[in-house]
Amino acid sequence: MQSYVHVILAGLSGGMFIWLVASGLTLIFGVLGVLNFAHGSFYMLGAYCSFTVLRHLGAGFWTGLLLGPLAVCAAGFVVERFFLRHVYRIALPYQLLLTFAFVLIFDNLVKIVWGGGALSPPSLSFLGGSVPILGRNFPVYNLFIIAVGPAVALLLWVLLEKTWYGRIVRASSSDREMAASLGVRVPALFTGVFVFGTWLGALGGGLAVPYVGLLTPGMGETIIIEAFIVAVIGGLGSLKGAFVGALVIGVISAFGTRFFPAFDMFLTFILMGGVLLWRPQGLFGATR
């Protein structure tokens, strides 16, 4: 029993990282209609930038978490403002490949700046250690992550549903032209949404620094695939679906790692195949 609880807790904390990446991905897709391959790279950049702030500027964890993702937002701004903005109207393969080009560029830049090897981040002084749960120790930091995920979900919900800006974002996402003719500066809004989505992914990366133990240039590619699977399972463009999907994937892969270590990824794919056969539009996707 206690081992099951621990596996579920580990799965939830792993799922929260996927949620942070998938939320930005979903938000950007929902509003801009662009599927951003480079979103995993923003996660990776967030981790590396936070790491640098922690290690080389000697700052604390919170400063790293604040400054690192902000630096990545600048990269997100450049990507949207100078490149993506010009391809909204062209065929889909080109949009996807444009973001794929940024995956290549960012992965390579990380190798140039931080080196190709793995970096091990410093251990945390506070939030470190572990607390006993049902007689076994569980890391405090993972509990913190399990709290952060729903907090971000709440923040997104309030921003989108309860504020004036959220209403404008929703209006532009459902009808671009109408919103524009009512005086919404749609291009600027799109840039803003993209940068915010970038921040969400980078925040996930910054939070992952103490969690993953090792930073590698390939860390963005693993999580973007998981985020895609989450988007398929939850329904593309649905934030609720992304949240539920991320938790389900997190828990399932935790069980996989615990009980079938050779096939941990495989369980996830079986789940995806099953959902596709049963509900092709995803759990919370609109029927098309």
């Binding site: 393969p93 996807l96 490949l97 593309l236 096939f263 092709p280």
Partner: protein, 322 residues
């Protein structure tokens, strides 16, 4: 049919030139030429899906790997005959493509791209994790290049790269011819119709989903052929053949050369292999260089090399747009 005759003459000239290549250049260039033809087989089949049908798959590395591992297992456990091995590799690739395609073709556009990507990575993680069977990250090693024989009638050695070149060339010519025939056939024209307007094709009586599945399986066969030949070339099969960065190669190559012609992916393959070779010679950061080239193509030259070239000779309005 003037253009037809001209194209046939050009194809014959290129084929003759390719036959002469091993007598003119050194060992390394022969190796590069083989790599170009392998990527060409992969891409020309892939472009039936992307250019002809308008479906963007990010998972064709899986079928490439299926061909590679299919030939590998066949060569290690059943028979070393390369022709039978290639047939086995292609058969495995087609089987896998039908299976994956069945789940994917009910979707289009972004969903299709994401699904193929996810299933491709599933194959990658299976190969990577099933160490006892596939060798995990070491890959499948020790696959021999035994002589080509046909029911014991004759034996042609393919041990050296120069000899192997001609086997690859034969398959390459066959693939390009097959892709050409498919593009010109009623089936190929129906695929173009699906690309332009799927709903209208449906109303015209074209079984859209079944045709999409058929072309998906066909492009999987080309990928499997290329994969099994690469296994013979390198004498090993590696899990990274199924990785999504490898699945992106035929996409890049097709765009680089131009989606709308048969020659586009072939020209793109030559440019891609040559460019990677040159960039790698100067810097180890070839991904950065390639990313920048890709950005330039997408922002400025969406017709690819062939589209841009033919645009130069035609009126500006003839230039195609995405």
């Amino acid at each position: 049919m003037k253009a037809e005759t001209r194209n046939a003459c050009a194809a014959a000239a290129v084929l003759l030139a390719l036959c002469a290549v091993p007598f003119l250049v050194g060992k390394f260039t022969i190796y590069l030429a083989i790599r170009i033809m392998l990527l060409g087989i992969f891409a020309v089949g892939y472009n039936l899906l992307l250019g002809q049908t308008g479906l963007l798959s990010f998972g064709h590395g899986a079928f490439y790997a299926a061909g590679a591992y299919g030939l590998g297992f066949f060569g290690l456990h059943v028979s070393g005959n390369p022709l039978l091995g290639v047939a086995a590799g292609v058969a495995v690739a087609v089987l896998l493509a039908v299976l994956v395609g069945y789940l994917c073709v009910r979707h289009t556009e972004i969903y299709f791209a994401m699904l193929t990507l996810a299933f491709g990575m599933m194959v990658f993680s299976l190969i990577w994790n099933a160490r006892e069977i596939t060798g995990g990250d070491d890959g499948l090693i020790g696959i021999m290049r035994s002589p080509v024989s046909f029911f014991g009638l004759f034996q042609i050695p393919i041990g050296t790269d120069r000899q192997f070149y001609y086997l690859v060339l034969a398959f390459f010519a066959l693939s390009v011819w097959a892709a050409h025939r498919i593009r010109q056939s009623p089936f190929g024209l129906a695929l173009a119709g699906i690309r332009e307007n799927a709903r209208r094709s449906e109303f015209a009586g074209v079984p859209v989903r079944r045709y999409r599945l058929a072309v998906f399986a066909l492009s999987g066969a080309f990928a499997g052929l290329a994969g099994s030949l690469e296994t013979l070339l390198e004498s090993n099969a590696r899990p990274f053949m199924a990785h999504w960065t490898h699945s992106a190669e035929p996409v890049l190559v097709s765009l680089l050369g131009g989606l709308s012609s048969l020659a586009g992916p072939l020209v793109g393959s030559a440019i891609f292999v040559a460019m990677r070779e040159i960039i790698q010679r100067f810097t180890e950061n070839w991904m950065l260089g390639f990313g920048i080239v890709l950005l330039v193509i997408i922002m400025g030259f969406r017709g690819g090399v062939m589209g841009t070239l033919s645009g130069l000779f035609r009126k500006p309005s003839a230039r195609e747009e995405g």
